[in-house]
Symmetry: C2
Subunit: 200 residues, 2 copies
DNA sequence: GTCTATAAGGCGATAGAC
DNA sequence: GTCTATCGCCTTATAGAC
């Protein structure tokens, strides 16, 4: 493992757990088991190191999801697949939602927003929505509000993880189990919302 | 307006917008139009000032909601009322979700979690749920997962507000309009999820 | 490339005059 | 109570030896 790789791994951990403001270069150096000066030798500044980490890590959030979603035919199937995939990723990186939220809420530095890979939503999500809507396979809802809702339901428990753990007294393992159960629950909600009522 | 009130007002703004780590005592003093030394004269330290603000402001999130919810009879009515009330509060304090989330995610300082007023949920929400479930008025879902979902759908757009504003190119006014429309959309989702299917 | 030492500035907090 | 001036620490960043 090269020094650069060690730095990136350590910086990921610290930035993701503590956000930009809370992160300390010293702590990154400690976790990478190198000297603090090396951080600047490789990445010049805290800002540039953060930029690097953000770009690399955010790609992870929406990996090949776009491609895979195309293979799921109906809109409901696509949404259910999204929920499944999302929980797999979030279980692996439970701090990511807070990392992204705290970054895009940072004052005077909104350029990070443009790095969020949301292209696949417009291309695949909305296209499929209107197609299934026309053929009567799904109920007419507001696709934009619906998309926010699905993301909100998926991400929210990970943002409130510390509170949930403390309030209902569970550990990481039990939290993970709850999230596993949550997948089917959310898929059920999606079907109940989108399946048209039978006008018999 | 007394000096203490001016400080509290300024501190609210700065802490809520920037979180604890991002907030600067100097900026709070500037906005209060007083001297930095006065902050320490009135509140001793940044920690103690933050504590004061958090306690006061978090109460606002769940004001008399508990009492008012009792007057709404059915579970679905209660949830719809919650959504309405929540959006009214969040429109007034759009930064609050990020403030709370960033606080409870702070390292080594989980005691803030205990100050969140969630008592009314257990008392009113769950009680009403099981009552309506038994009488067949609502479908059987997981009440815990459902509660998280409703909160997630409600809060999430406010957490991603900077991103939404930039990505779809809207201003504060237009965002507020979107959120106003969202109330009915969410209430509709709730009804679709909870209304039992007719087994005719 | 890697280290030690240190610069330079920002920040929370305090002393002390009024 | 309110101010100015300043302390002392922490943090990012760099200089310079090896």
């Amino acid at each position: 493992m090269t020094t650069e790789e060690k730095i990136i791994k350590a910086a990921e951990e610290v930035f993701i757990e503590q956000g930009y403001d809370g992160a300390r270069m010293q702590e990154i150096a400690d976790r990478a088991e190198i000297n603090k000066a090396m951080l600047h030798y490789y990445f010049r500044s805290k800002d540039m190191l953060f930029e690097k980490i953000f770009e690399e890590k955010v790609k992870v959030l929406f990996p090949v999801m776009g491609e895979q979603m195309k293979s799921h035919k109906g809109f409901i199937d696509k949404v259910c697949f999204f929920i499944e995939q999302y929980y797999e990723i979030l279980t692996k990186y439970p701090f990511m939602p807070f990392f992204v939220i705290s970054t895009i809420n940072r004052k005077d530095d909104k350029h990070f927003i443009e790095k969020l890979p949301f292209g696949f939503i417009k291309e695949i999500f909305f296209e499929s929505f209107f197609s299934d809507l026309q053929s009567g396979k799904i109920r007419e809802v507001n696709p934009f509000q619906f998309a926010i809702s699905v993301m909100g339901m998926s991400v929210f428990p990970f943002l409130t993880r510390p509170a949930m753990k403390k309030l209902i007294g569970i550990n990481d393992e039990q939290f993970q189990l709850l999230m596993q159960q949550r997948i089917d629950e959310l898929k059920n909600y999606v079907r109940l919302i989108l399946t048209p009522t039978n006008h018999a």
